[in-house]
Symmetry: C2
Subunit: 407 residues, 2 copies
Amino acid sequence: MNWKLAARAAKMNPSVIREILKVTERPGIISLAGGLPSPDTFPIDAFAEACAEVLRKDGRSALQYAASEGYGPLREAVAAMLPWPVDPAQVLITTGSQQGLDLLAKVLIDPGSRVLVETPTYLGALQAFAPMEPHPVSVDSDDQGVIVADLIAKARAGDAPRFVYLLPNFQNPTGRTMSEERRVAVSQAAAEIGLPIVEDNPYGDLWFDNPPPLPLTARHPEGCIYLGSFSKVLAPGLRLGFMVAPKALFPKLLQAKQAADLHSPGFNQRMVFEVMKDGFLDRHVPTIRALYKRQRDAMLASLQREMQGLGVEYNRPAGGMFLWLRLPEGMDAVSLLPAAVERNIAFVPGVPFYAGESDARTLRLSFVTASVEQIDVAITALAAAIRHRLAEDHAADVQRQLAGSAA
Amino acid sequence: MNWKLAARAAKMNPSVIREILKVTERPGIISLAGGLPSPDTFPIDAFAEACAEVLRKDGRSALQYAASEGYGPLREAVAAMLPWPVDPAQVLITTGSQQGLDLLAKVLIDPGSRVLVETPTYLGALQAFAPMEPHPVSVDSDDQGVIVADLIAKARAGDAPRFVYLLPNFQNPTGRTMSEERRVAVSQAAAEIGLPIVEDNPYGDLWFDNPPPLPLTARHPEGCIYLGSFSKVLAPGLRLGFMVAPKALFPKLLQAKQAADLHSPGFNQRMVFEVMKDGFLDRHVPTIRALYKRQRDAMLASLQREMQGLGVEYNRPAGGMFLWLRLPEGMDAVSLLPAAVERNIAFVPGVPFYAGESDARTLRLSFVTASVEQIDVAITALAAAIRHRLAEDHAADVQRQLAGSAA
């Protein structure tokens, strides 16, 4: 048959992470690779009650076709929980926050449109944008996110970018947080040069000691699209997220939503509303924070003990799910992975997260899926793999030198 | 802010039906407009049991991130229930079958690609395709679907079409069914000219007297993408559908799916599997058929009584949810709608369902949402509106003639 693929299909690629995750399904592997919330945090009993209640009192509506915007009371609850004045009419319920990326890509990206992203950035966003064929431009970033001077320079270095995509809180993949000072500067620069911001905030509630600074969107709502998610504070398996969009953009995003899947499951929306409505998140989320903080601490303690003297660098995330590690000079995370898997641990190399030039020494470690004990075993194994590779490299160097002096 | 929309956003439009449905929310209106399954058919108790069971025995997995392909046992159940040999590896679970249309549009449609559709066709498909900017080409159709000679002519009248989109069973909007003879001819013609088929079958299980003939896909699986849905046999509010794709296309569709929403809710997939697994559909679907048949019969009886002598034509759908009606010569369904709404009934004019030249006299009536009593009241009111309009038109004619003879 004459199936002919659209040109954009060539831009769509299988997730590298997905391929890695397949390896990690091997029994015995401790995976620090995936971005899976700890299932210990899923409020199964609360969901069971909510299901029964929704079906009992509202089953016919919950199971019927519904408005593309989302379930009214949930839109109101979302608006009310955000730390700036939000009209519920600007809240669009999405099938996971991933869908928000798909919808805004359809509405804002033409083939070849410049889109600015952090260095590195969330791979899933690059994948969601890819079918619309943007030209992603990597903005230099440090441990606080994008560097403002480079943001301005890149914004002006060609056609006006359609937006800059930022993940200010406990970023995926690095775990870094944008400081208050940086937020002020980014927000001001974006307003001055008329650069729209897409702010993705799936992890913001998962802070350990102090809440992160106010979102960028709170500082300039008309210049920002904000994406949020219930995946990390309740459960990802319900596939519910939301976007808050300026009134000028909302109708087109809504049309894109309607064309994409008519609406997100009304049953799930009511379940989440039912679970949330009595302040449940205020009691539940602190338990997630405490758990993830313990696990981050365990990872840091193991790293400090095991990576001593190996020339390894890593950060200390103030929240979220991920820690970012940089291998010793000359060591490549992609080539280290098979050696790590042989020692029964898995991580994600940093390379796929870079839209531009990548740092091959980097890798991402999740501290939320494995237990404290597993984390310790895994970091010990990772250090052993690094030590072994260093020794191999050293031996190769010595051999090369000997060969050199023999010649 | 410099929000700049993508060119494709101009092709995206709010659904006309959606706007009509807003009117129908007025209290007192009997709506024959929407495509809403009767909530009397939703198996609320079975869902309640399934929810409890899934959360009890499998809560942690049901609530976690999951594979983009869908829940394995559900993919197997789908493959097993289809009337041709299907490898579960070719089944992709989607967020409603609407999402299948979005995914295949991304993978198969370039801007300007010719896509063949029936006359008239499902509006939601036109909307799902629109962001990818196809050139939809309307193939002449009769009460059995596309006319084969015109299908071949249109396929050859320009660049090779990417596919023909067909809804052979109880089509939305017309309720018509493609006969066995027509299926044989369409299938053979498509194979001969190498024309891929997208076969959409959300209504196929809702037959009244006899099951419809075998799907087109069963006759040539490598040349077809098949879309199915749980919305009409279980409930739309769970947003679950599926697509069956040739192995050559599956990986790209899967990548599009992953980028669009990572995966469809695993919780819902398990719920549906749990409900289905003991042959529930074999007991449940006949009750839906019986109910909808009674309602179709009621509508036909009312139409026969009320439309006598008005010059109105309508068909007799053998299943599904919709009946197609054609107003007397010279009468326009769009302009009749306000008069009908004044009489507290609503329908959908046929015009938005045409990709090419439209027949302004046509309109769609749903016989599944309103009760038998409401259907009778509604058809009586619709006939009164038509009679009134005929009288007005006649009076205007007489006046014109009088004006003519006076001149």
